[in-house]
């Protein structure tokens, strides 16, 4: 089973969200997701300043096999993107929870985090 860090929250569509000390939320895709996708070869990130709505599409990840939408777990403004992924998308395969983060959101309502799945709940999703 994929390793799931305890400080993360999840969408059932395999995105993770981490509430940082400064109140922003970092978003990426899970280890399980990168494993399902296989070798990741292209990532389209949102523009900084874009307003996104929880569970709306915010980025695109393409493996050799297929293209998938990446949804944001939380509503708000995109304040930073991991542009290193544009040159090295394979980082997501090797480090989905750290160097392979996608973007940071300044949330409108941080309470939305409580709508997300806990690591335990998410791991049940992965087993289905």
């Amino acid at each position: 089973m994929s390793e799931i860090p305890g400080d993360l929250k999840f969408l059932s569509s395999h995105e993770w969200a981490r509430l940082e000390d400064d109140g922003t939320v970092t978003v990426g895709i899970s280890d399980h997701a990168q494993d399902l996708l296989g070798d990741i070869v292209f990532i389209e990130l949102p523009e900084v300043g874009k307003e996104v709505e929880a569970e709306g599409d915010a980025a695109i990840v393409e493996s050799v096999k297929a293209a998938s939408d990446v949804y944001t777990p939380i509503s708000g403004e995109i304040i930073e993107v991991n542009s290193a992924l544009e040159e090295q998308p394979e980082t997501v395969n090797g480090s989905p929870y750290d160097d392979g983060w996608f973007f940071k959101v300044k949330p409108i309502n941080v309470d939305e985090m409580s709508n997300l799945l806990s690591p335990e709940e998410y791991s049940e999703v992965c087993e289905d």
Binding site: G38, D39, V41, F42, E44, V64
Partner: protein, 349 residues
């Protein structure tokens, strides 16, 4: 789900197994990109035992094959050799693509797994007219050993002439047929034999330096080589011209009648769309179904992927006739530039 004889061996090499037309097959053993490079730079081994094998027996086997196959098996019937070609229907549409092997008097057909039932029915309909028997061989498997170092591996496993075969030649050695054929664009061999020999050959190849390669890498390898995939790049709705496969329709012997011949002769190639290779200039990945436009018309992406060798996206496409060298492809809400090129992305063969 059907399993090949080497199912457990794949699991022991950490394969990720997927459902491939009803067969549980290894899609990768970790990284399909690493596996792709392994075949381009060294040597890999594929279990392709899901492919269908048919044996054609009877005095009229040659006449029968000359009638149902687009290519003329007369070219190989006095040799030990393989011949690529198509099964055409009466309209010139492509029922399947396949390889006919002739070895020491025996004719074998190897074709796709998803088309097995359809082909079998087609073979049987026409077999009665020629008094031949067509038998599906389910106790055999196929291994492909591909890559620049494949000769070294074959040399170690098989005695005799196997490693010195020329392209498309085949030889039987100790009950195993070894052919210089493949689907990767690299020098390579395909081995057809009874299941009981498979594990020994698989293990010997791995001991000799071959790494297991999954079907995902097989797809990027074939696409770089410009080989069509049945179901994606061709089907019964298109004729060989449209797929760049008219070279597999042998018209040299004017007296040879074969299914689809008249329909094929009635087609004016210039009226048809054509198959091309496409290269995406920008970042992004070409996918089947994406729409193409150029100054004189339009087209569609049939196969598209990321080329691990070229490190950019490539594809096969069908477009309206044009001499234009470039066009545009619609990817989601963007129009991106593509170059029209030969489908042989790697001219290595």
């Amino acid at each position: 789900m059907k399993k090949t004889f080497l199912y457990e061996d794949h699991l022991s090499h950490d394969a990720k197994m997927v459902d491939f037309s009803g067969w549980s097959m290894p899609i990768n053993y970790g990284s399909q990109i690493d596996e792709h490079h392994q075949v381009r730079n060294d040597v890999g081994i594929f279990d392709v035992s899901h492919m269908s094998i048919f044996k054609i027996s009877g005095q009229n086997a040659e006449s029968y094959l000359r009638y149902i196959f687009s290519n003329d098996v007369k070219k190989i019937s006095d040799k030990n050799k393989a011949l690529y070609g198509l099964l055409l229907n009466e309209n010139g549409g492509i029922i399947d693509d396949l390889i006919v092997y002739h070895s020491e008097g025996d004719f074998l057909i190897v074709s796709n797994c998803a088309t097995k039932e359809k082909n079998e029915a087609w073979y049987q309909v026409h077999a009665s007219k020629f008094d031949v028997s067509v038998e599906y061989i389910d106790n055999h498997g196929i291994l492909a050993v591909q890559g620049p170092n494949s000769i070294k591996v074959i040399e170690k496993i098989f005695r005799g002439d196997a490693s010195s075969l020329n392209t498309n030649e085949c030889v039987k050695t100790d009950g195993v047929m070894v052919a210089k054929t493949g689907y990767t664009g690299e020098e390579g061999f395909e081995v057809i034999c009874e299941n009981k020999y498979l594990r020994k050959i698989w293990n010997s190849a791995i001991e000799s330096g071959a790494k297991p390669i999954g079907l995902a890498a097989r797809d990027t390898l074939r696409l770089e080589a410009g080989f069509c995939l049945y179901g994606s790049d061709m089907d019964e709705s298109v004729n060989p011209h449209v797929c760049g496969l008219s070279w597999t329709v042998d018209l040299n012997d004017e007296d040879r009648e074969f299914i689809g011949k008249q329909a094929f002769l009635n087609i004016n190639e210039k009226d048809e769309q054509k198959m091309i290779g496409i290269l995406l200039k920008d970042k992004g990945i070409l996918r089947p179904g994406y729409e193409i436009t150029h100054i004189e018309g339009k087209g569609i992406v049939l196969s598209g992927t990321f080329s691990p060798t070229l490190k950019k996206s490539i594809g096969l496409a069908r477009i309206d006739q044009t001499n234009e060298q470039s066009g545009k492809v619609k990817i989601r809400d963007k129009e991106l530039e593509i170059e029209f090129v030969s489908p042989r992305f790697l001219k290595k063969i």
